[in-house]
Amino acid sequence: MNIIETNNLTKSYGDFQAVSEMNLHIKKGTVYGFLGPNGAGKSTAMKMLLGLTRPTSGSFTINGKKYPENRIAILKNIGSFIEGPAFYGNLTGEENLEIVQNILGLPHTSVLEALEMVGLTKTKKQLAKKYSLGMKQRLGLASALIGKPSILILDEPTNGLDPVGIHEIRSLIRSLPEKFDCTVLVSSHLLSEIELMADDIGILNQGRLLFEGTLDELEMKAVEMGYPTDNLEDTFLAIVDADNKKRGSLR
Protein backbone atom coordinates (compact mmCIF):
# COMPACT_ATOMS: atom_id res chain seq x y z
CA MET A 1 0.00 0.00 0.00
CA ASN A 2 1.43 3.39 -1.01
CA ILE A 3 0.99 6.14 1.53
CA ILE A 4 2.42 8.82 -0.76
CA GLU A 5 1.89 8.70 -4.48
CA THR A 6 2.62 11.37 -7.02
CA ASN A 7 1.25 11.54 -10.52
CA ASN A 8 3.40 13.39 -13.08
CA LEU A 9 4.26 15.99 -10.47
CA THR A 10 5.93 18.97 -12.15
CA LYS A 11 7.26 22.32 -11.00
CA SER A 12 8.60 24.93 -13.40
CA TYR A 13 10.18 28.27 -12.65
CA GLY A 14 9.74 30.15 -15.89
CA ASP A 15 10.95 27.77 -18.59
CA PHE A 16 13.19 25.90 -16.14
CA GLN A 17 11.78 22.63 -14.80
CA ALA A 18 12.96 22.03 -11.26
CA VAL A 19 10.88 18.84 -11.03
CA SER A 20 9.47 17.22 -14.13
CA GLU A 21 6.79 14.53 -14.35
CA MET A 22 7.79 12.71 -11.23
CA ASN A 23 5.99 9.54 -10.17
CA LEU A 24 6.88 8.49 -6.66
CA HIS A 25 5.55 5.43 -4.85
CA ILE A 26 6.25 5.41 -1.15
CA LYS A 27 5.11 2.38 0.82
CA LYS A 28 3.62 2.68 4.26
CA GLY A 29 5.95 1.86 7.11
CA THR A 30 9.18 2.15 5.13
CA VAL A 31 12.08 4.56 4.90
CA TYR A 32 12.27 6.02 1.41
CA GLY A 33 15.60 7.52 0.44
CA PHE A 34 15.50 10.42 -1.97
CA LEU A 35 18.84 10.72 -3.64
CA GLY A 36 20.24 13.32 -6.00
CA PRO A 37 23.05 15.83 -6.45
CA ASN A 38 22.65 19.47 -5.36
CA GLY A 39 19.95 21.23 -7.34
CA ALA A 40 18.33 17.99 -8.48
CA GLY A 41 14.95 19.13 -7.20
CA LYS A 42 14.68 17.16 -3.97
CA SER A 43 13.68 20.09 -1.80
CA THR A 44 11.28 21.38 -4.43
CA ALA A 45 9.52 18.02 -4.61
CA MET A 46 9.25 17.83 -0.81
CA LYS A 47 7.95 21.39 -0.61
CA MET A 48 5.19 20.50 -3.02
CA LEU A 49 4.18 17.57 -0.84
CA LEU A 50 3.85 19.97 2.09
CA GLY A 51 1.95 22.58 0.13
CA LEU A 52 4.78 25.07 0.56
CA THR A 53 4.92 25.50 -3.18
CA ARG A 54 2.26 24.83 -5.76
CA PRO A 55 2.77 22.15 -8.44
CA THR A 56 2.77 23.54 -11.97
CA SER A 57 1.05 20.38 -13.09
CA GLY A 58 0.43 16.85 -11.88
CA SER A 59 -1.02 15.79 -8.55
CA PHE A 60 -0.32 13.70 -5.50
CA THR A 61 -2.14 11.91 -2.72
CA ILE A 62 -0.99 11.46 0.83
CA ASN A 63 -2.83 8.84 2.84
CA GLY A 64 -5.45 8.88 0.10
CA LYS A 65 -6.02 12.62 0.62
CA LYS A 66 -5.57 15.23 -2.06
CA TYR A 67 -3.93 18.64 -1.98
CA PRO A 68 -5.08 21.42 -1.85
CA GLU A 69 -8.57 20.34 -0.76
CA ASN A 70 -7.28 18.52 2.32
CA ARG A 71 -4.29 20.69 3.16
CA ILE A 72 -4.96 20.90 6.87
CA ALA A 73 -5.85 17.22 7.19
CA ILE A 74 -2.68 16.20 5.36
CA LEU A 75 -0.45 18.44 7.44
CA LYS A 76 -1.88 17.06 10.69
CA ASN A 77 -0.06 13.79 10.08
CA ILE A 78 3.23 15.08 8.74
CA GLY A 79 6.33 16.15 10.59
CA SER A 80 8.70 18.03 8.33
CA PHE A 81 12.13 19.52 8.08
CA ILE A 82 12.90 21.38 4.86
CA GLU A 83 16.17 22.93 3.69
CA GLY A 84 17.72 23.46 7.04
CA PRO A 85 16.06 24.45 10.26
CA ALA A 86 13.27 27.01 10.53
CA PHE A 87 12.78 28.52 13.97
CA TYR A 88 12.26 31.69 16.00
CA GLY A 89 15.69 33.01 16.91
CA ASN A 90 14.37 35.06 19.81
CA LEU A 91 12.93 32.03 21.58
CA THR A 92 14.68 29.19 23.40
CA GLY A 93 14.78 25.69 21.98
CA GLU A 94 12.07 24.58 24.37
CA GLU A 95 9.82 27.57 23.59
CA ASN A 96 10.17 26.90 19.88
CA LEU A 97 8.91 23.38 20.36
CA GLU A 98 6.12 24.53 22.65
CA ILE A 99 4.74 26.59 19.80
CA VAL A 100 4.62 23.58 17.50
CA GLN A 101 3.21 21.49 20.34
CA ASN A 102 0.42 24.03 20.88
CA ILE A 103 -0.55 24.09 17.26
CA LEU A 104 -0.63 20.33 17.04
CA GLY A 105 -2.56 20.12 20.31
CA LEU A 106 -0.07 17.77 21.96
CA PRO A 107 0.63 17.30 25.67
CA HIS A 108 3.62 19.14 27.10
CA THR A 109 5.53 15.91 27.67
CA SER A 110 5.93 15.61 23.91
CA VAL A 111 8.25 18.63 23.99
CA LEU A 112 10.57 16.97 26.46
CA GLU A 113 10.44 13.71 24.54
CA ALA A 114 11.37 15.43 21.30
CA LEU A 115 14.22 17.29 23.01
CA GLU A 116 15.45 14.03 24.46
CA MET A 117 15.29 12.25 21.11
CA VAL A 118 17.63 14.76 19.46
CA GLY A 119 19.81 15.31 22.50
CA LEU A 120 18.95 18.92 23.27
CA THR A 121 17.65 18.39 26.81
CA LYS A 122 20.60 20.11 28.45
CA THR A 123 20.49 23.19 26.24
CA LYS A 124 16.74 23.63 26.00
CA LYS A 125 16.88 26.96 27.86
CA GLN A 126 19.30 28.60 25.42
CA LEU A 127 18.14 31.02 22.75
CA ALA A 128 17.81 29.28 19.41
CA LYS A 129 19.84 31.95 17.64
CA LYS A 130 22.77 31.21 19.94
CA TYR A 131 22.70 27.51 19.03
CA SER A 132 25.52 26.05 16.97
CA LEU A 133 24.74 24.97 13.44
CA GLY A 134 24.37 21.34 14.46
CA MET A 135 22.14 22.25 17.40
CA LYS A 136 19.87 24.30 15.15
CA GLN A 137 19.68 21.30 12.90
CA ARG A 138 18.70 19.13 15.85
CA LEU A 139 16.07 21.65 16.91
CA GLY A 140 14.61 21.53 13.41
CA LEU A 141 14.53 17.75 13.59
CA ALA A 142 12.88 17.84 17.00
CA SER A 143 10.13 20.07 15.61
CA ALA A 144 9.55 17.45 12.92
CA LEU A 145 9.58 14.48 15.29
CA ILE A 146 7.42 16.00 17.99
CA GLY A 147 4.16 14.17 18.46
CA LYS A 148 5.32 11.11 16.52
CA PRO A 149 3.63 11.94 13.23
CA SER A 150 2.74 9.07 10.92
CA ILE A 151 4.70 10.59 8.05
CA LEU A 152 8.06 12.31 8.27
CA ILE A 153 9.57 14.39 5.49
CA LEU A 154 13.20 15.15 6.18
CA ASP A 155 15.33 17.16 3.78
CA GLU A 156 19.05 16.46 4.22
CA PRO A 157 18.64 16.00 7.97
CA THR A 158 22.29 15.23 8.70
CA ASN A 159 23.76 18.38 7.11
CA GLY A 160 26.02 20.19 9.50
CA LEU A 161 26.10 17.49 12.14
CA ASP A 162 29.27 15.98 13.57
CA PRO A 163 30.08 12.32 12.87
CA VAL A 164 28.60 11.20 16.17
CA GLY A 165 25.47 13.24 15.48
CA ILE A 166 25.18 11.84 11.96
CA HIS A 167 25.35 8.35 13.33
CA GLU A 168 22.77 9.09 16.05
CA ILE A 169 20.30 10.66 13.65
CA ARG A 170 20.73 7.91 11.12
CA SER A 171 19.99 5.18 13.61
CA LEU A 172 17.09 7.25 14.93
CA ILE A 173 15.58 7.50 11.45
CA ARG A 174 16.24 3.83 10.79
CA SER A 175 14.39 2.88 13.97
CA LEU A 176 11.38 5.17 13.47
CA PRO A 177 9.15 2.85 11.39
CA GLU A 178 9.28 0.16 14.06
CA LYS A 179 9.09 2.49 17.04
CA PHE A 180 6.26 4.79 15.96
CA ASP A 181 4.89 2.92 12.99
CA CYS A 182 5.65 5.79 10.64
CA THR A 183 6.78 6.34 7.09
CA VAL A 184 9.88 8.40 6.41
CA LEU A 185 10.86 10.28 3.26
CA VAL A 186 14.45 11.35 3.66
CA SER A 187 16.68 13.09 1.13
CA SER A 188 20.42 13.19 0.80
CA HIS A 189 23.10 13.75 -1.78
CA LEU A 190 25.13 10.82 -0.42
CA LEU A 191 24.26 7.30 -1.46
CA SER A 192 26.39 5.91 1.34
CA GLU A 193 24.04 7.62 3.78
CA ILE A 194 20.81 6.55 2.11
CA GLU A 195 22.14 3.03 1.86
CA LEU A 196 22.31 2.78 5.64
CA MET A 197 18.78 4.05 6.27
CA ALA A 198 16.48 3.35 3.38
CA ASP A 199 14.37 0.43 2.29
CA ASP A 200 13.57 1.96 -1.07
CA ILE A 201 15.41 4.63 -2.96
CA GLY A 202 14.56 7.09 -5.68
CA ILE A 203 17.36 8.70 -7.68
CA LEU A 204 16.73 12.19 -8.96
CA ASN A 205 18.79 14.22 -11.42
CA GLN A 206 17.89 17.57 -12.95
CA GLY A 207 14.27 17.16 -11.98
CA ARG A 208 13.78 13.65 -13.35
CA LEU A 209 13.38 10.42 -11.44
CA LEU A 210 15.99 8.09 -12.94
CA PHE A 211 15.41 5.08 -10.77
CA GLU A 212 12.99 3.85 -8.15
CA GLY A 213 13.24 0.58 -6.25
CA THR A 214 15.14 -1.32 -3.57
CA LEU A 215 18.90 -1.36 -3.22
CA ASP A 216 19.05 -4.87 -4.67
CA GLU A 217 17.13 -3.73 -7.69
CA LEU A 218 19.53 -0.83 -8.10
CA GLU A 219 22.44 -3.26 -8.10
CA MET A 220 20.74 -5.47 -10.66
CA LYS A 221 20.07 -2.51 -12.89
CA ALA A 222 23.67 -1.41 -12.59
CA VAL A 223 24.92 -4.81 -13.70
CA GLU A 224 22.52 -4.73 -16.59
CA MET A 225 23.67 -1.32 -17.76
CA GLY A 226 27.32 -2.11 -17.22
CA TYR A 227 27.89 0.41 -14.41
CA PRO A 228 30.38 -0.36 -11.65
CA THR A 229 28.77 -2.30 -8.79
CA ASP A 230 31.53 -2.94 -6.28
CA ASN A 231 30.94 0.47 -4.72
CA LEU A 232 27.39 1.87 -4.72
CA GLU A 233 28.62 5.46 -4.62
CA ASP A 234 30.31 4.82 -7.97
CA THR A 235 27.09 3.34 -9.29
CA PHE A 236 25.22 6.48 -8.31
CA LEU A 237 27.84 8.71 -9.91
CA ALA A 238 27.81 6.64 -13.10
CA ILE A 239 24.01 6.83 -13.38
CA VAL A 240 23.96 10.59 -12.88
CA ASP A 241 26.89 11.07 -15.21
CA ALA A 242 25.27 9.01 -17.96
CA ASP A 243 22.07 11.02 -17.55
CA ASN A 244 23.93 14.31 -17.76
CA LYS A 245 25.70 13.15 -20.93
CA LYS A 246 22.42 12.10 -22.49
CA ARG A 247 20.90 15.52 -21.77
CA GLY A 248 24.03 17.26 -23.01
CA SER A 249 23.74 15.51 -26.34
CA LEU A 250 20.08 16.44 -26.56
CA ARG A 251 20.77 20.14 -26.30
Binding site: G51, I72, G89, N90, L91, E98, I103, K129, S143
Partner: protein, 239 residues
Amino acid sequence: MLTMEWKKSKRTGFIPSFLGGALLTGLIPILYMAFISEIDTNLDINPLHVLLDANWQMMAMLKVSLIVVGACLLYYVESSDNALQKMQSLPIKDENLFFAKFLLISLIYLGVLVMEAIGLGFSSVFWFLEYPDLPMELVKNIGYMFMLSLPAIVLALLIASFFTNIWIALGLGMIGIFLATQLSNQNVILASFPFNLPFQTMHGTDAAAPDTLIWVALIETVVLLVIQKVSVSMRRYFR
Protein backbone atom coordinates in the same frame (compact mmCIF):
# COMPACT_ATOMS: atom_id res chain seq x y z
CA MET B 1 -3.43 31.27 19.20
CA LEU B 2 -3.26 34.59 21.00
CA THR B 3 -1.05 33.28 23.79
CA MET B 4 1.19 31.78 21.17
CA GLU B 5 1.63 35.10 19.39
CA TRP B 6 2.36 36.66 22.74
CA LYS B 7 5.03 34.04 23.37
CA LYS B 8 6.59 34.58 19.95
CA SER B 9 6.97 38.29 20.61
CA LYS B 10 9.20 37.60 23.61
CA ARG B 11 12.61 39.29 23.62
CA THR B 12 11.89 41.14 20.40
CA GLY B 13 11.31 44.46 22.09
CA PHE B 14 7.66 44.40 21.10
CA ILE B 15 6.21 44.68 24.59
CA PRO B 16 8.75 47.23 25.92
CA SER B 17 8.22 49.38 22.83
CA PHE B 18 4.49 49.54 23.36
CA LEU B 19 5.04 50.15 27.04
CA GLY B 20 7.46 52.99 26.32
CA GLY B 21 5.13 54.39 23.70
CA ALA B 22 2.22 54.23 26.13
CA LEU B 23 4.15 56.10 28.81
CA LEU B 24 5.20 58.72 26.31
CA THR B 25 1.76 59.45 24.89
CA GLY B 26 0.34 59.42 28.39
CA LEU B 27 2.88 62.06 29.36
CA ILE B 28 2.18 64.35 26.43
CA PRO B 29 -0.94 66.06 27.88
CA ILE B 30 0.74 66.38 31.27
CA LEU B 31 3.87 67.95 29.79
CA TYR B 32 1.70 70.19 27.69
CA MET B 33 -0.20 71.53 30.67
CA ALA B 34 2.93 71.82 32.78
CA PHE B 35 5.14 73.67 30.30
CA ILE B 36 3.39 74.94 27.24
CA SER B 37 -0.27 75.73 27.77
CA GLU B 38 -1.20 79.35 28.39
CA ILE B 39 -4.89 78.63 28.60
CA ASP B 40 -7.06 80.10 31.33
CA THR B 41 -8.14 76.99 33.18
CA ASN B 42 -10.67 78.80 35.33
CA LEU B 43 -13.13 79.05 32.50
CA ASP B 44 -16.03 76.68 32.39
CA ILE B 45 -14.88 74.51 29.52
CA ASN B 46 -14.62 70.83 28.73
CA PRO B 47 -11.00 70.06 29.63
CA LEU B 48 -10.91 67.03 27.38
CA HIS B 49 -11.71 69.11 24.34
CA VAL B 50 -8.93 71.52 25.15
CA LEU B 51 -6.39 68.78 25.79
CA LEU B 52 -7.35 66.73 22.75
CA ASP B 53 -7.38 69.71 20.41
CA ALA B 54 -3.92 70.67 21.53
CA ASN B 55 -2.27 67.27 21.70
CA TRP B 56 -4.20 64.65 19.81
CA GLN B 57 -2.32 65.14 16.55
CA MET B 58 0.96 64.27 18.16
CA MET B 59 -0.46 61.50 20.34
CA ALA B 60 -2.14 59.86 17.36
CA MET B 61 1.01 60.20 15.32
CA LEU B 62 2.96 58.36 17.96
CA LYS B 63 0.41 55.59 18.24
CA VAL B 64 0.09 55.01 14.51
CA SER B 65 3.87 54.84 14.27
CA LEU B 66 3.79 52.32 17.09
CA ILE B 67 1.22 50.23 15.23
CA VAL B 68 3.27 50.24 12.03
CA VAL B 69 6.53 49.37 13.76
CA GLY B 70 4.82 46.67 15.85
CA ALA B 71 3.17 45.07 12.82
CA CYS B 72 6.45 45.02 10.92
CA LEU B 73 8.17 43.47 13.90
CA LEU B 74 5.64 40.65 14.30
CA TYR B 75 6.11 39.62 10.68
CA TYR B 76 9.85 40.19 10.78
CA VAL B 77 10.11 37.60 13.57
CA GLU B 78 8.32 35.15 11.28
CA SER B 79 10.45 35.71 8.24
CA SER B 80 13.91 35.75 9.76
CA ASP B 81 15.18 32.22 10.39
CA ASN B 82 12.42 30.86 8.17
CA ALA B 83 9.91 30.37 10.97
CA LEU B 84 6.99 31.21 8.68
CA GLN B 85 7.84 28.21 6.54
CA LYS B 86 7.60 26.00 9.60
CA MET B 87 4.24 27.55 10.46
CA GLN B 88 2.98 26.92 6.94
CA SER B 89 3.89 23.26 7.13
CA LEU B 90 1.82 22.86 10.30
CA PRO B 91 -1.91 22.27 10.22
CA ILE B 92 -3.04 25.85 10.84
CA LYS B 93 -4.50 28.47 8.61
CA ASP B 94 -2.47 31.49 7.55
CA GLU B 95 -5.43 33.72 8.24
CA ASN B 96 -5.59 32.55 11.84
CA LEU B 97 -1.96 33.47 12.22
CA PHE B 98 -2.87 36.90 10.94
CA PHE B 99 -5.94 37.24 13.09
CA ALA B 100 -4.02 36.32 16.22
CA LYS B 101 -1.51 39.07 15.45
CA PHE B 102 -4.39 41.47 14.90
CA LEU B 103 -5.86 40.60 18.29
CA LEU B 104 -2.49 40.92 19.98
CA ILE B 105 -1.84 44.41 18.65
CA SER B 106 -5.43 45.49 19.32
CA LEU B 107 -5.28 44.41 22.93
CA ILE B 108 -1.96 45.99 23.65
CA TYR B 109 -3.16 49.09 21.84
CA LEU B 110 -6.12 49.25 24.17
CA GLY B 111 -3.56 49.29 26.96
CA VAL B 112 -1.87 52.28 25.34
CA LEU B 113 -5.22 54.08 25.16
CA VAL B 114 -5.83 53.44 28.84
CA MET B 115 -2.47 55.03 29.63
CA GLU B 116 -3.49 58.02 27.57
CA ALA B 117 -6.78 58.23 29.40
CA ILE B 118 -4.90 58.30 32.67
CA GLY B 119 -2.69 61.11 31.37
CA LEU B 120 -5.66 63.07 30.09
CA GLY B 121 -7.69 62.43 33.23
CA PHE B 122 -4.86 63.49 35.47
CA SER B 123 -4.28 66.72 33.57
CA SER B 124 -8.00 67.52 33.62
CA VAL B 125 -8.35 67.01 37.33
CA PHE B 126 -5.11 68.68 38.26
CA TRP B 127 -5.25 71.81 36.13
CA PHE B 128 -8.88 72.41 35.27
CA LEU B 129 -12.05 73.21 37.18
CA GLU B 130 -14.05 70.21 38.16
CA TYR B 131 -15.93 68.73 35.24
CA PRO B 132 -18.66 66.35 36.40
CA ASP B 133 -18.94 64.07 33.36
CA LEU B 134 -15.21 63.50 33.06
CA PRO B 135 -15.05 59.73 33.75
CA MET B 136 -17.88 58.99 31.38
CA GLU B 137 -16.42 61.24 28.69
CA LEU B 138 -13.05 59.56 29.01
CA VAL B 139 -14.49 56.08 28.65
CA LYS B 140 -16.54 57.14 25.65
CA ASN B 141 -13.55 58.75 23.97
CA ILE B 142 -11.35 55.74 24.53
CA GLY B 143 -13.90 53.36 23.10
CA TYR B 144 -14.32 55.64 20.13
CA MET B 145 -10.62 55.95 19.46
CA PHE B 146 -10.16 52.24 19.82
CA MET B 147 -12.79 51.48 17.20
CA LEU B 148 -11.33 54.06 14.86
CA SER B 149 -7.87 52.54 15.11
CA LEU B 150 -8.82 49.00 14.12
CA PRO B 151 -8.55 49.61 10.36
CA ALA B 152 -5.06 51.07 10.82
CA ILE B 153 -3.99 47.94 12.71
CA VAL B 154 -5.29 45.60 10.02
CA LEU B 155 -3.78 47.68 7.22
CA ALA B 156 -0.37 47.84 8.90
CA LEU B 157 -0.39 44.06 9.40
CA LEU B 158 -1.56 43.51 5.84
CA ILE B 159 1.36 45.55 4.51
CA ALA B 160 3.78 43.74 6.79
CA SER B 161 2.48 40.33 5.72
CA PHE B 162 2.85 41.20 2.05
CA PHE B 163 6.48 42.26 2.14
CA THR B 164 9.09 40.04 3.69
CA ASN B 165 11.64 42.85 3.45
CA ILE B 166 11.02 44.71 6.66
CA TRP B 167 12.24 48.04 5.29
CA ILE B 168 9.71 47.98 2.48
CA ALA B 169 6.86 47.27 4.89
CA LEU B 170 8.14 49.96 7.25
CA GLY B 171 8.64 52.43 4.42
CA LEU B 172 5.15 51.94 3.03
CA GLY B 173 3.74 52.32 6.53
CA MET B 174 5.62 55.61 6.97
CA ILE B 175 4.33 56.87 3.64
CA GLY B 176 0.83 55.94 4.79
CA ILE B 177 1.25 57.89 8.02
CA PHE B 178 2.56 60.90 6.17
CA LEU B 179 -0.35 60.76 3.77
CA ALA B 180 -2.73 60.66 6.73
CA THR B 181 -1.23 63.84 8.16
CA GLN B 182 -1.61 65.60 4.82
CA LEU B 183 -5.19 64.56 4.13
CA SER B 184 -7.84 66.98 5.15
CA ASN B 185 -10.41 66.02 7.73
CA GLN B 186 -13.09 68.09 6.07
CA ASN B 187 -14.07 65.30 3.76
CA VAL B 188 -15.55 61.98 4.93
CA ILE B 189 -13.72 59.96 2.30
CA LEU B 190 -10.33 61.43 3.12
CA ALA B 191 -10.97 61.20 6.84
CA SER B 192 -11.79 57.52 6.36
CA PHE B 193 -8.32 56.60 5.12
CA PRO B 194 -7.33 53.86 7.63
CA PHE B 195 -4.26 55.69 8.89
CA ASN B 196 -6.22 58.93 9.14
CA LEU B 197 -9.05 57.58 11.30
CA PRO B 198 -6.96 57.43 14.52
CA PHE B 199 -6.34 61.17 14.15
CA GLN B 200 -10.04 61.96 14.52
CA THR B 201 -11.49 62.99 17.84
CA MET B 202 -15.08 62.55 18.89
CA HIS B 203 -15.86 66.25 18.98
CA GLY B 204 -13.39 67.57 16.48
CA THR B 205 -14.29 65.99 13.15
CA ASP B 206 -16.46 68.28 11.10
CA ALA B 207 -16.80 65.95 8.18
CA ALA B 208 -18.90 63.28 9.80
CA ALA B 209 -20.77 62.41 12.94
CA PRO B 210 -18.98 60.06 15.35
CA ASP B 211 -21.32 57.15 14.70
CA THR B 212 -20.79 57.46 10.96
CA LEU B 213 -17.06 57.13 11.48
CA ILE B 214 -17.55 54.14 13.76
CA TRP B 215 -19.48 52.42 11.01
CA VAL B 216 -16.84 53.37 8.49
CA ALA B 217 -14.15 51.94 10.75
CA LEU B 218 -15.98 48.67 11.31
CA ILE B 219 -16.70 48.21 7.62
CA GLU B 220 -13.10 48.98 6.71
CA THR B 221 -11.86 46.49 9.29
CA VAL B 222 -14.07 43.75 7.90
CA VAL B 223 -13.19 44.56 4.31
CA LEU B 224 -9.47 44.56 5.05
CA LEU B 225 -9.78 41.23 6.88
CA VAL B 226 -11.57 39.78 3.87
CA ILE B 227 -8.85 41.12 1.59
CA GLN B 228 -6.32 39.41 3.80
CA LYS B 229 -8.18 36.11 3.55
CA VAL B 230 -8.41 36.33 -0.21
CA SER B 231 -4.78 37.30 -0.54
CA VAL B 232 -3.70 34.24 1.44
CA SER B 233 -5.30 31.93 -1.08
CA MET B 234 -3.96 34.06 -3.93
CA ARG B 235 -0.46 33.81 -2.58
CA ARG B 236 -0.79 30.08 -2.10
CA TYR B 237 -1.70 29.92 -5.76
CA PHE B 238 1.42 31.77 -6.85
CA ARG B 239 3.81 30.08 -4.48
